[in-house]
Every structure is written in C-alpha cells, then in structure tokens.
C-alpha cells in the first residue's frame, strides 16, 4: 500500500508528467513513420529519448518541489524511513520509463515489420542499455534534487553533463597523469553514457553487457546512498522560520 502510493505519486505529482509521456509516445509514432536508414538512427533515438531526456525531465523537482511547496514538511513527519521514500519514488520513475520504452519499441518494431521502415538491429540490447542509463541518471538527478531547490536539479544535471563532457574532450589531447585521472573519473564515476551507448549500438557480447550492468547498478547504488544520507541528515525549514 505504501509502496504503491509512492509509485503512483511519481506519475500524479504534476500534470506535466502525463504530458511528457504523451509527447514521448507521439515522438515514437513520428519516428516510426519516418524513413530511417540504419539501426544507428533508431537506437540513438531510443537511447536519447528514453535513456537521457526522460530521466532528466521525469525526476525534475522530485524532492525539490516538495521541499519548496512545503509538502515535504508533512510527508517527512510520517513514520517511514527516508530510504523507503527514496527507493519507491525511484521505482515509480523506472516503471514509467519501462512502460514508455515498451510501448515505443513495440511501435518501432511494428513499423519495421509492417512497413519495412528503419532497422531494429540491437533494439532489445539498446533498450536494456537505455534502461540502465535511465537508472543511473534518474538516481543521480533524484539525489541532486534532495539538495537543490525546486526543479533546479534539471539545470544542474544538464550543465553538469555538458561541463564534464567538455572537460573530457579537452583532456583528450593531454597525456598527463592528471588528465588521465580526470578522464577515468568521468568515464567510471559519472553516468556511463558513452559506454552504454556504444555497447548497445555495436551489439556488445554477454560479458561486456554484464560488466556494464554491474557498473551502472553500482553507480546507482552509490548515488542513491548519497541521496538517502543527505535526506536523513538535512533539515526541512519553512521559508518563514522562527
């Protein structure tokens, strides 16, 4: 009952979530009827929409909105652990992603089979990689949301990803230990966008997939632990305190 209410809440917390899913479904529909040359195009679409854009948008303000509106001040006086709240909200967002990806992929597959449009090579593997990309990004964004106000976690995530991508690119030309260390940090400690994308796109083997899944799960666990610790240690003062 508690779990179901927290899962359901992630969908009903604001009307823009439903609009987001409708837009996602429309985009899948549009892509399905457009001519696509190869699996790269289909895969990139699935990966970017469901693996990158959806987690950032769906987790916008997941805790920050509650903190700003004051709703957190009632929710967090209820007798449940902060981990329970965090985990079931995360599960709620993951379920929404799964449903969107399942429907979207079915549309793409049907369009391919019936109309011979596009290519669905590695679609299943790409979906799996997109799901793990979703998981790591959503967990990181949710934890950021327990620190920053309102929906600012979206901005922090977008600018953070752009910043680290730029740093990675700049460091690419250097062969110093520092540059290598920074690149290794970006590759392994931040959401493994490049790794998951290339594995899904190139049809990685079972061992490589397993390694990436373990990597994504470990990162999600670390991000989630940080978020839960922050939530349980932070204070929830109202705007007009004293």
């Amino acid at each position: 009952m508690l779990a179901w209410e927290l899962i359901k809440e992630t969908f009903f917390r604001k009307s823009s979530i439903a609009i987001l899913h409708v837009l996602g479904a429309l985009l899948y529909g549009i892509i399905a009827v457009l001519p696509m040359r190869n699996s790269l195009e289909v895969g990139a679409f699935v990966f970017i929409l469901s693996g990158v854009a959806l987690p950032l948008l769906i987790s916008q303000g997941i805790f920050g909105d509650d903190i700003v509106s004051g709703r957190a001040r009632v929710v967090l006086t209820k007798p449940m652990s902060f981990a329970t709240l965090y985990i079931w909200r995360l599960v709620g967002m993951c379920l929404q992603c799964l449903v969107q990806m399942a429907i979207g992929s079915a549309v793409l597959y049907l369009a391919h089979r019936l109309g011979a449009r596009g290519s669905v090579n590695h679609l299943l593997l790409l979906n799996l990689m997109a799901m793990f990309m979703f998981l790591t990004l959503t967990t990181l964004s949710t934890s950021v949301s327990s620190v920053v106000k309102g929906g600012l976690n979206l901005l922090v995530m977008v600018f953070g990803l752009i910043f680290f991508k730029a740093v990675d690119w700049l460091m690419g030309g250097m062969e110093t230990p520092l540059a290598e260390g920074v690149q290794a940090f970006i590759k392994y400690a931040l959401p493994p966008l490049d790794l998951l994308w290339s594995a899904g796109n190139q049809g990685a083997g079972p061992l490589e997939v397993l390694g990436l899944v373990v990597h994504a799960l470990a990162l999600s666990l670390i991000y989630a632990s940080a978020g839960i610790i922050i939530l349980s240690r932070r204070e929830f003062a109202c705007e007009r305190e004293c």
Binding site: E5, G70, F236
Partner: protein
C-alpha cells in the same frame, strides 16, 4: 508519568551566509519544558519568538543545535516519535491532482495504515472536517479554509497521540473556527496531547489548558492553569456613593474610585455571584465589563516587562 513531549535544554542556532560564516541567529535558547499527556498547550509569542522552530524541532523537521526533544520518550525524528505525531503546517499543500479521498489514502498509507482500516477512517474524517461535498474535487481548486480542514484530517489520519498544529484557524471563517475549536476539545477528551500555535490569542484563550510564551527564543512564561480561569478582572460601574465598604466584603478589590470598582475573581463563573451579591447589598450597578487579564494583555505586559 512520562511526559508527552519533553524539551531539555533545547537550543537552535541558524547559520547564515556562505558556508555558514555569517552572523548566527539564535532562534531558541536553552528551553526546558514538559508537556503532559492530554494537555492542550498554546504556544504564543511575537513573530521571530521561536514558535515555529519549536514545532519543527518537535516534528523532527529541524535538528537541535543543543539539547534534546523527546516525544513519548522517543527522540524527535525517530520512527517511533513520528508514529506518535500528527502535524498540520501553517500553509498546507497537497498533490493538486488528488481529491481529499486520495490525499487521505496517500497519507494513511505513508502512516502505515492497512487498506481495510483506511476506507472507514477516510469517510469518518471527511465527514468530521465537513468536506463531504468536496470529497471528489481536486484539491488544487480548494480555498485556504478547505485546505486547512483537509490538513487537519491528514494530521489525524493515523490517530496520533500528539497533535501539532501551526495556526490551525488560518483562513477559516468564524463558523469554521468554532468547528475547529469544538473538534479539538473533543480530541482532548480522547486523551490526545495538542500543541497549538496561533496569533489569534482570543481564540487560543478559549481552547488551551495551558500556555507557553516565547520571546526572543526564550521561554518567558509557562502557565499551568487555564488562561481564562487564571485571573479575571471585572470592572463594575456604580452610582456614586452607592457602594460602601461593607458591600465589598468578601471580594478582592484591585482598584476603586467613586464611580467604579475593579474586582479580581478566580474565574468568569464567579461574575454572576459578584453581581447578585452587590445588588443584594444595595449597590446601584450601572455597568459590568470584563476587564480580562486575557492572554493578549498578559503577553503584551510580559513583552513590555522584558523591554
């Protein structure tokens, strides 16, 4: 007997500025206080006195800088303490897409209520806070008064032992205020402890069994008896020369002039007895007015003394 809420040398300091390097604000300073089970305690004081901070420390939303808060023996913020608490904030907000039934179901589930208990409890509370007519309406369309009623129902959903109410009559019309007061008095009969803050001091006066006054983060006064029963002053206007000393025997006179006498009584119940006795003894009464050492005047006097 174990107190319902126990504050021990409680202090709260807010840090300001970048990395907390600015001037600290001492919102509460060494507050020690016990609230017994079944009491309705009014929390009063001017803005910035520390009322909300005290409430937030009780609910576990804030953490003490020094000292401790225990709710029925459990440290605030612990699961056990939160199991005892029902909290109604000053400005309640809910999921806009949810109607009152869904809001109550959500909070009931969070409080750990089983589905079979929840349905009956939701109907009971919706009826009690008189939201039956809006039970299926989205809460986003609610007025402030309706939100206050729903927030009270949310606070009560888990049958808490301690109810914490921050300005519960905010936004309510006079009828709503009377309803809330009646409801809270009924709750007191069940043995529930209620900590309530309000700027409507006349309203608190009618409701609480004791008052905690805060100013500048310090405990200024804790009255252990009912405020309206504590010290009542009655101004009695009399026709000049109609009130000799013998007429006043047995009563405590605070001030006396030719045309008026101010009596001190131990309760408002004694006013009819006073008037009847004075008339029987031959006094010609022209007016009777409750001078009232009410909560508001006591608070103002205390604040004046502190200055």
């Amino acid at each position: 007997m174990e107190p319902a809420i126990d504050y021990s040398h409680l202090s709260k300091t807010y840090t300001q500025g970048l990395l907390g390097m600015g001037q600290p604000v001492h919102a509460l300073k060494d507050v020690s206080l016990s609230i017994a089970s079944g009491e309705i305690v009014g929390l009063v004081g001017p803005n910035g006195a520390g009322k909300s901070t005290l409430m937030n420390l009780t609910t576990g939303l804030l953490l003490p800088s020094e000292g401790s808060v225990c709710v029925h023996g459990h440290p605030a913020r612990s699961l056990e303490a939160r199991r005892c608490i029902g909290y109604m904030p000053e400005l309640p907000t809910f999921l806009g897409l949810y109607n009152p039934r869904k809001v109550l179901r959500y909070h009931g589930a969070l409080a750990g209520l089983a589905r079979r208990d929840l349905n009956g409890r939701i109907d009971e509370l919706i009826e009690r806070v008189e939201l039956t007519h809006a039970a299926n309406r989205r809460s986003a369309t609610f007025s402030q008064g309706m939100r206050q009623r729903l927030a009270l129902a949310v606070a009560l959903i888990s049958r808490p032992r301690v109810l914490i109410l921050d300005e519960p009559t905010n936004g309510l019309d006079p009828v709503g205020i009377v309803d809330v007061r009646r409801m809270l008095l009924q709750l007191r009969e069940t043995g529930m402890t209620i900590l309530v803050s309000s700027h409507r001091l006349s309203e608190l006066d009618k409701l609480v069994s004791s008052v905690v006054m805060l100013a500048d983060g310090q405990l200024v006064e804790r009255s252990s008896e009912s405020v309206s029963q504590a010290d009542v002053r009655v101004f009695v206007g009399v026709a000049a020369g109609s009130c000799g000393d013998h007429i006043l025997e047995g009563f405590t006179v605070v001030e006396r002039t030719d045309a008026a006498i101010i009596f001190s009584l131990d309760s408002t119940d004694s006013i009819p007895v006073l008037v009847r006795t004075l008339v029987q003894r031959g006094a010609e009464i022209t007016s009777v007015k409750l001078e009232g050492d009410d909560l508001e005047s006591r608070l103002l006097r205390l604040l004046e003394q502190r200055k």
